[in-house]
Symmetry: C2
Subunit: 412 residues, 2 copies
């Protein structure tokens, strides 16, 4: 009946730009850290739109906000959503797009006089970015029951303010228990935040799952000595050992192939002086793979190389796991629905895993879940230059509309 | 006549500890940055000792202070010396030892009723360390006429205070023109600041020269992207290129062999986040060799590798030379005299170049110059833990005494 229904593209883009006004940075981009005054302003804007659409607004104890469009029957809801918090120098699209597109889907159905069989919902989860409070994806991990609510609320920012205090301050400490909504399916529309769709000129990313993530911190302790007077053979150079590990991390990803990635993003050197051999380095290694066995193999090989470096370079090295998420595989029924809709709408598409973490990975333990990606220019995200073309944003929302409608109307 | 003359070891050690009281740090070590109130206190202490020994004190326009013990004849002076400024977390011996040992040599001769043929002098040069004002070794490079006085005086510290202002403030802006003293020879006694003598259990380092130094700063610009979503093949990772250069710098030193050393002491990464590919790195490479041709070859090979990395990793790399000193070869007559004295005094000795810069390298362009090294424990220097054993300090001063006396008495 509604395959030819289309969302209102201009209304979607306008709503994204309107939300982008809250926490807008001079010169572009947004800073809307979780549970700040800027976040409150953004939340208030989205809640006002939910209410204007006649949605029932539900807020839970971790600040997740869900707007519900009642269905014809009392059944579990088909949920769309994402987050509206941003990193310190964020763009207009990361997270925000999935939320505003969800509301646009509901508005489109209302305009067409369609009330679906199942309720539809749009949720924005608290603190997906994890910049102000750790861990990230906090609202969804708590919703899924995989992280204790009390522990999340006790997380402190740099100034010692707890998330609980911050949520109360902005008026978003709700009464509902996280996870007490009955959810039939979860579909998250998001910009890719990577370069693949943009480079390959593809409209729709059919997201098959989320890569497993292993974050390790290495602390290297050598001996600080004079760069001129210490023969090469007598050095215990923590900086050199760190450099060798960084080079190995790249080789490791290349040798494992597939979608294995490896990044050394953080390196801090002490004393960090031109003429002093470094005696202290803290570095991080970020390993990701969709295949948990290969990810575990990468971790094992890295550990072996680190041990070898410690011995060869006379440097003490300790390892600490910061984050370890297993890969998530999205439900076939959602993945296939996204692919089918992209094909029916004559959009180019490809299957790909998400390299970034998303709320959908936790919702996948609650109900059948999936994601739709659209391209972002040059893969740039977490950056004020983050940009996606309006036509791509509109195309993604039209796929979301049809997938959600299928899910909501189905009788099987 | 005086081969069996010995310095007063206790008096030397006491004087070093007494000087170390000025600018003393809690828990050990000294902070006496050039031309600060602490430096003034240290200078006043040394000048008071010069006056107590009846020396004529001469201060030049860059704040170099020379105490002169008149000789029997009006001839160019045999100068000892070093510096008394320290790094922020310095030890008691670096520089200070050569100055106080020089005064101890004169005191010993006076005690023995010896007035040498040529005048003897002890100089402490201004701002050898170069921490507060750049360049380092400033007093001696100006004394040697290899750096303009006005430019040196105009050097500003972080607060915008010029060296000229700072010297006037502490009362050490003298009237003499730097370099207008007539110098016959220069002998500098210093702790090695490296591990060779200590590791090999050797008493005296016969310093053959000073390694040439090449300091380069590399700035690498790549593209910052998400660590999870950016395939390995699409990365322009400035951090990885920096790591490869650091590993190459080590390989370069090993492949050139000899006394070639190479150090990457400074690495600053942006944005320096665990899950973001670095887009900006500033790193330094410190290359040193006693052979200028090999040093130039090392620079050339490094430049070639840097260019290759820029191409292979898609990273823009700019190079800037921060410092370039040619190697210095000390005068045979001084080197041989030091070696001969060590042998005559039944001390173990070895020839070695200095890997660190010293005032003697500029004095070598003024007159025959040389240096004597004594061991420091584990080669640790520029550190509050810097330590040399009293017996080693005393042995070095006894070699200085005899070398200086030979130079001062010689008739050839």
């Amino acid at each position: 009946m509604s395959h030819y229904l289309h969302i209102n593209g201009q209304r979607l883009i306008d709503s994204l730009f309107a939300l982008g006004e809250y926490g807008a940075l001079d010169g572009g981009g947004v800073c809307r850290l979780a549970a700040t005054a800027e976040d409150k302003a953004g939340r208030d804007f989205v809640v006002a739109r939910m209410k204007a659409l006649g949605l029932a607004v539900s807020i839970d104890a971790i600040g997740n906000v869900t707007g519900i469009y009642a269905g014809e029957e009392e059944l579990p809801m088909v949920m769309m959503g994402s987050h509206i918090d941003t990193v310190g120098t964020g763009g207009l699209y990361d997270g925000n797009y999935g939320v505003m597109a969800g509301l646009e889907v509901i508005a489109t159905l209302q305009d067409a006089g369609i009330r679906p069989r199942r309720p539809l919902a749009v949720t924005f989860f608290t603190n997906e970015e994890g910049v102000r409070f750790q861990p990230d994806m906090m609202g969804s991990v708590v919703f899924a029951g995989e992280y204790p609510l009390e522990q999340a609320l006790a997380a402190k920012d740099r100034d010692g303010v707890t998330l609980d205090e911050a949520l109360r301050e902005i008026g978003y400490k709700g009464e509902r228990q996280p996870g007490d909504l009955s959810v039939d399916s979860y579909v998250e529309l998001h910009i890719e935040q990577g370069p693949i769709l943009d480079k390959e000129g593809i409209d729709i990313g059919v997201v098959t799952g989320v890569q497993g993530i292993s974050w390790q911190e290495l602390t290297l302790t050598g001996v600080s000595n004079h760069a001129g007077t210490t023969p090469m053979s007598m050095r215990r150079d923590a900086g050199l050992a760190a450099a060798k590990i960084a080079v190995y991390a790249r080789e490791l990803a290349l040798s494992l192939g597939g979608d294995q990635v490896s990044t050394v993003g953080h390196i801090s050197v002490k004393p960090n002086l031109i003429n002093v051999i470094p005696n202290h380095v803290v570095m991080t290694v970020d390993l990701r793979n969709t295949d948990n066995d290969i990810l575990a193999l990468a971790e094992k090989r890295l550990a072996e190389f680190v041990a070898k470096m410690a011995q060869e370079e006379g440097v003490e090295i300790t390892r600490r796991s910061l984050v370890r998420f297993n890969p998530v595989i999205f439900a076939d029924e959602i993945v296939n629905a996204v692919e089918g809709e992209a094909r029916r709408q004559a959009l180019s598409w490809r299957r790909l895993p998400s390299g970034a973490g998303h709320d959908a990975q936790f919702m996948a333990s609650v109900c059948p879940a999936g994601m739709i990606f659209v391209p972002c220019v040059d893969g740039i995200s977490h950056n004020v230059k983050e940009h996606s073309e309006a036509k791509d944003l509109i195309a993604g929302a039209n796929v979301l509309l049809q997938v959600v409608l299928q899910r909501a109307q189905r009788t099987a």
